[in-house]
Each structure stands twice: as C-alpha cells, then as structure tokens.
C-alpha cells in the first residue's frame, strides 16, 4: 500500500542536487544582482550614515536566518552525541529541515487560552525577541573599511558606536528577563509561573558574576567601547582570553545562565514544569521564544568573542590585518568573527548535550557562593595590577589567574563542599538486598 508519488517526491527532496543546485542558483542570482546594481548602492556603502544601516539590515537578516540553521545544528549535534543521525529526511542531510520547521510553526493552530492576561500574553514573545536582537547594535563586526572608490571616508561596520558599549550590552541583557517573566505571569498557569519566577531569580543572580567578569576586562582595556577593546586585542595579538581565562569563564557561565540554556534552563525544565514559561504558547508565538533563545545565544557569543577572543582579529599572537582598512580585509575579518561566533555556539550546544540541568539551590549556590567570591577576588587582583601598571602584562595576569585557581582548589579541598554545594559528610546509605 505504498504511495509511489510520495516516495518519488521524497527522493527528489533528498537529492543533494536539489539543495546545492538551488543554493548555487540563488547565490549566483544574488551575486549578479549585486554586481548589476553596484552603481546604485556604491554611494551608500561609502556613506558614514547609510553604511551602518546597511550593516544593520544585513546582519539582522543574517542572524534571524542563522537561528534557523542553529536549530538544525542543535538537533544534528544532539543526534551525533547520542549516536544518532539527527534530522536527515527533509532535504539532503536534513538541510531543508529549518524550512520545514518554519512552515510547521506558521501553519500550526495558534491557541490563546481563555484565562490568560491577553495583552501581556501577546507582548511577551515579542519582547523576548526584540530585546535579544537589540544587543547586536554595538557589535563591531569587521572593524573599519575604506572603499577603493571613496578613499577619503572611513566607514565602520558597527551599527552604533557607543561610548558605553559594554554597559549597553549589560543593560540589554538585564532587560532580557522580561519576556520570560511576562510569559510566565500572563499564562495564568502555575508551571509557567514557576518558570517565570525561576528565570527572574536566576537572571538577577547571574548578572553579578557577569558584571564582575566584565569589570576585570574593563580594568584591563580601559575602555567600554567594544571596537576599542577589539582593536587593542588585534594590535597586540594578545587576546584577553589568554590574559584573563578565569573572568572569561565567569562570563561564559553567566551567559549560559542569561541565555537560559542548559545547564541553567530551569525556567523551562520539561520534566518538572512541562516547558515552563512557554507551556501555553503555540505556533508562531512559541517559535518566537525559540528564535529569541537562539538570538540571545548568538548575541552572547558575539559579545564574548568581541571582549575576549579578539573579535574580528583573524589570528592570535599576531597583529595581522589589525590596521588594514582594505575591502578584502573586511571580508576576512567578518569571516573570522563569524567563525569564532560559530565555534562559541558549538560550545554552547555541546555543553547542552553533555551537562545535566542543575537543581535550583545548586544554581543559586554556584552563583553566590562560587562565582561571586571568585569574581570579587579577581576584580580586586586586577585592580591591584592596574594600579601597578601591570594589567596588560601576560605573566602578571596569568599569575593572578593561577593564584585564584589555586585558591579555588584549596577552598574546595578544605571545605569538603562541591561548587554545587553537596555535603561530603552525608550519612551512610543503607541498602537492603532484595
């Protein structure tokens, strides 16, 4: 009773020719259009006002579409780590899966339960997405560029060059909780509500280690401007992750928590809260939360890369391209930046499929009893180094980090407590054989 037409369609969909052919055709058409229209937008590219707007339009679309790819990548990685293949039915190697997912989300019934607080219920997913996307404004994607046809104007690939760059990132990150909290509140469902409450407590707690880690970095860089931080790293070749591995770790852990990702995804804990804050959401609204989570992850990675991994600097321990403003350098820098962000996202995903979720008290203990003390110690140490003028010497910074690490080890060994707070002197467990 097999329907041959269905199988034939499936075979066509799964052939590599379809997806790579269509991709090649689309890319060719795009390149052709760009080439033909070049005189039209040539002026815009060299305009200091319009160029950032173009960057914004391009990067926003890039990020929104890469969230779809992220979802595919996540499912693939989930499959691979669990000895499976992941999605491989829609399109060659499952490459059309994002399209199918999007179609499914759009076509599903959009249910609004009767007892919800309707305005807030509708506002929450939009808020989540808007806030997680607005962090991109200060990312210096590829430094500055001087086009060959307008050698006098230097345009920046950063949308908004704010004096308070890093502070802006913090501000946006701290607003990120509203989407989740509102969704939890408006759903009028106790599980969703618990999710919202957990998210709020978690985000407030993890902003502290995030801020402390950033403080170490800012003491070193002496500037809050992201492009300045990146330029320093590119010129010296000494990425700040090599100088400050522990603050990097602090910020990495906090950005996991801020993005609500495993192991800190208590707000949606499927097992206890049946999905948490997005339990009541369906169809495209649910998809918006999904998009927001991935956009948040991409923002977090981009900021992390800019602050610690040299941003657009292509090579560590080298100042290659640091002062170049040629157009081809722009492409290399952008590629380097995106590659680093991709690696960072890969790390996020690998962690998700490795580490089990923390319990809520463990989560709080990690923030307040482990990360915050280490962060304060590191800030004090870095401040001392700054006073001594040693904040950018590698041996001083690494020495500080080593001392902090040894201190952590020593405390861990002495206190008999794990970072998650489990006691070592637990009572014996009695087991009765059956």
């Amino acid at each position: 009773m097999q329907d041959p037409v269905v199988f034939r369609v499936e075979r066509i969909l799964r052939s590599p020719w379809l997806i790579f052919g269509a991709g090649a055709v689309l890319a060719g058409a795009l390149a052709l259009a760009l080439w033909l229209l070049f005189p039209l937008y040539k002026g815009l590219l060299a305009d200091p006002f319009w160029f950032p707007i173009l960057v914004m339009a391009i990067m926003l679309n890039l990020i929104l579409s890469s969230t779809a790819i992220c979802i595919l990548a996540e499912r693939k990685i989930a499959g691979f780590t669990q000895d499976r293949f992941g999605p491989n039915r829609v399109g060659f190697w499952g490459l059309l899966q994002p399209l199918a997912d999007g179609l499914k989300f759009l076509l599903k019934e959009d249910i609004i339960p009767t007892q919800v607080d309707k305005p807030l219920f509708l506002l929450a997913p939009a808020m989540a997405l808007i806030i997680s996307l607005s962090g991109f404004a200060v990312i210096p994607w590829a430094g500055e560029v001087r086009w060959p046809w307008a050698p006098d104007t230097l345009v920046s690939t950063q949308v908004a060059s704010l004096d308070i760059g890093v502070l802006y990132v913090l501000a946006v990150a701290s607003l990120g909780v509203y989407g989740v909290v509102l969704a939890g509140y408006a759903s009028n469902n106790k599980y969703a509500f618990y999710g919202g409450v957990r998210a709020a407590a978690q985000m407030i707690s993890y902003e502290l280690p995030l801020g402390l880690g950033l403080l170490c970095l800012l003491l070193t860089s002496g500037s809050l401007r992201l492009e300045e931080v990146v330029r320093q790293q590119a010129q010296s070749g000494m990425w700040y992750v090599f100088l400050h591995p522990l603050p990097f770790l602090l910020i990495l852990v906090s950005s996991f928590a801020e993005a609500n990702r495993v192991p800190f995804d208590l707000a949606e804990a499927e097992q206890e809260l049946v999905g948490g804050f997005h339990t009541e959401y369906s169809s495209m609204k649910f998809a918006l939360f999904f998009l927001a989570e991935y956009a948040h992850m991409i923002t977090g990675s981009a900021v992390l890369v800019a602050l610690f991994c040299g941003g657009w600097a292509p090579l560590p321990f080298s100042s290659w391209l640091a002062d170049s403003t040629a157009w081809w350098a722009l492409l290399i820098k952008l590629g380097a930046y995106l590659a680093k962000v991709a690696v960072c996202i890969g790390l996020f995903m690998l962690v998700r499929w490795t580490i089990p979720r923390f319990r809520f008290d463990q989560l709080m203990r990690i923030a307040w009893l482990s990360l915050v003390p280490v962060g304060i110690a590191l800030v004090a140490g870095t401040a001392t180094l700054t006073v001594l003028g040693l904040q950018r010497t590698w041996w001083a910074c690494l020495g500080l980090n080593l001392v902090a690490l040894l201190g952590m080890l020593w405390t861990a060994a002495r206190s008999g407590r794990t970072v998650t707070g489990r006691q070592d002197d637990l009572p014996d467990i009695h087991v009765e054989p059956a």
């Binding site: 004096d163 501000a171 607003l175 407030i204 401007r225």
Partner: protein, 226 residues
C-alpha cells in the same frame, strides 16, 4: 505664560484627579477624556513649536510616551501593569538621555531601574498576586493632594522654563568631546570623591541593615512561613 500652557496643566491635573482609581468608573472615564484633550493640546503645541526641526520629533515622541506611561503607572488598577508602564517610562526617559549625550546615565538607568529594581518589583508583585485585587491597588490614597502637589510643581517648572530668555531656550546642549564614561568618571573620582565615598558608605550601611532586617532569628524562622 501663555494661557494654553496653563490650560494644559489644569486639564492634566483635573483629568488625573478624575482618572485615579478609587472614584466611580464613569468618572475615571471622564478623567481619561479630559486627559486626552490635554494630550491633544500638547501634541498640537509641540507640532507647532517643532515644525521646522525634524530632529525634535524623537524628543516629542519619547516625552509623550513617557508622560502617558507615567499616567498609567498611577492610574492602572493592576499592579503588574503599573510596573510594566514604569519600565516603559524608564525606557522612554533613557532614550531622551541618549539624545542629550548622557550615555552613562542612560546605561545606568536601564541597568539599575529596568534591569534590576523593576524585575524585583515584578517578582514581588507576581508572588503577592491574589485572587482579587487588593483595596490598596484599586483605591488611591490621597488623589486630591497628590494631583494638587503635582500641578503646583509642574506649573513652577513650566513657568521657570518659559521665563528664561529665548536665546537660552533655543540653545542646544554644548557637545562635550571625549569619552562619555571618562567625562563622568573623572570629576566623580577627583572633585566629588568625598561625596562618592559617603554615598558608598551609606549604601553599605543600607545593605547591612537590609540583611539584618531580612535575617529572622532562627527560633521564629519556621513559624513565619505560611
């Protein structure tokens, strides 16, 4: 002072008094109507005043949003909505601050108010939410005196602004060069360092006090839970 400005302020005060929760529903609707007339006047005045300056549209828009949000903070009957309107107010004001090159204050306002304090408020309000709205949410305590005080204050500010010479009114803020953070931080840590330290000590004392209040004695700890 032109009669229009006075009229606007009076309309605002009367409308707010009527719109504040506590009275009867039809009266609060009337209050909203009065407020809407006041807002319309304000919009008309603003468009006339700023007709030639397209850059001022952002200022006008954000100010209107901030005013509206502030009204809803005090008039809304659901505390969650009040808190959210406060967030909107903070965001609108912070945009105005960016316009005035006060980037640091913008960041600080967003982080401290919208990011931390209001999240905590929301948290508390959500936890304290009951089946029916509490009386202190549905009635404002002193609507008459509150509105009167606000009216007097606003009138004074308006009169002061209006009395200033025209040259000073039209003056654009001088563009301060250099890094916004540096401009804030340098005087703070040189000229005003004593004040800064005093504030720091004050905050520390408040923190210790808060912990002392929050930490109940162990004996009564379990009976307080209900």
């Amino acid at each position: 002072m032109p009669i229009l400005l006075i009229l606007m302020l009076v309309l605002g005060a009367v409308g707010l008094f009527l719109a504040l929760p506590g009275g009867r529903a039809d009266l609060s609707r009337l209050g909203l109507l009065v407020l809407a007339i006041g807002a319309a006047l304000l919009v008309a005045g603003l468009t006339q005043q700023l007709a030639g300056e397209p850059g001022q549209a952002l200022f006008a828009g954000c100010s209107l949003v901030a005013l509206l949000a502030a009204l809803r903070v005090v008039t809304h009957r659901k505390p969650v909505y009040s808190a959210l309107y406060f967030v909107l107010l903070v965001v609108a004001v912070s945009i105005l601050l960016v316009r005035m090159q006060a980037e640091f204050v913008f960041g600080a306002l967003l982080i401290v108010y919208a990011g931390a304090i209001l999240v905590t408020y929301l948290f508390v309000i959500m936890l304290a939410q009951q089946a029916r709205p509490a009386p202190y949410d549905t009635r404002s305590r002193e609507p008459l005196w509150g509105c009167l005080a606000g009216f007097v204050l606003l009138t004074q500010v308006a009169a002061y602004v209006y009395r200033r010479p025209a040259s000073e009114q039209a003056a654009v803020l001088p563009r301060v060069g250099g890094d916004a953070i540096l401009n804030v931080a340098t005087p703070l840590l040189t000229h005003y360092v004593v004040g800064l330290e005093i504030v720091g000590v004050l905050l520390l004392a408040a923190l210790v006090g808060a912990i002392a209040i929050a930490r109940r004695p162990a004996a009564t700890a379990d009976e307080g839970e209900d």
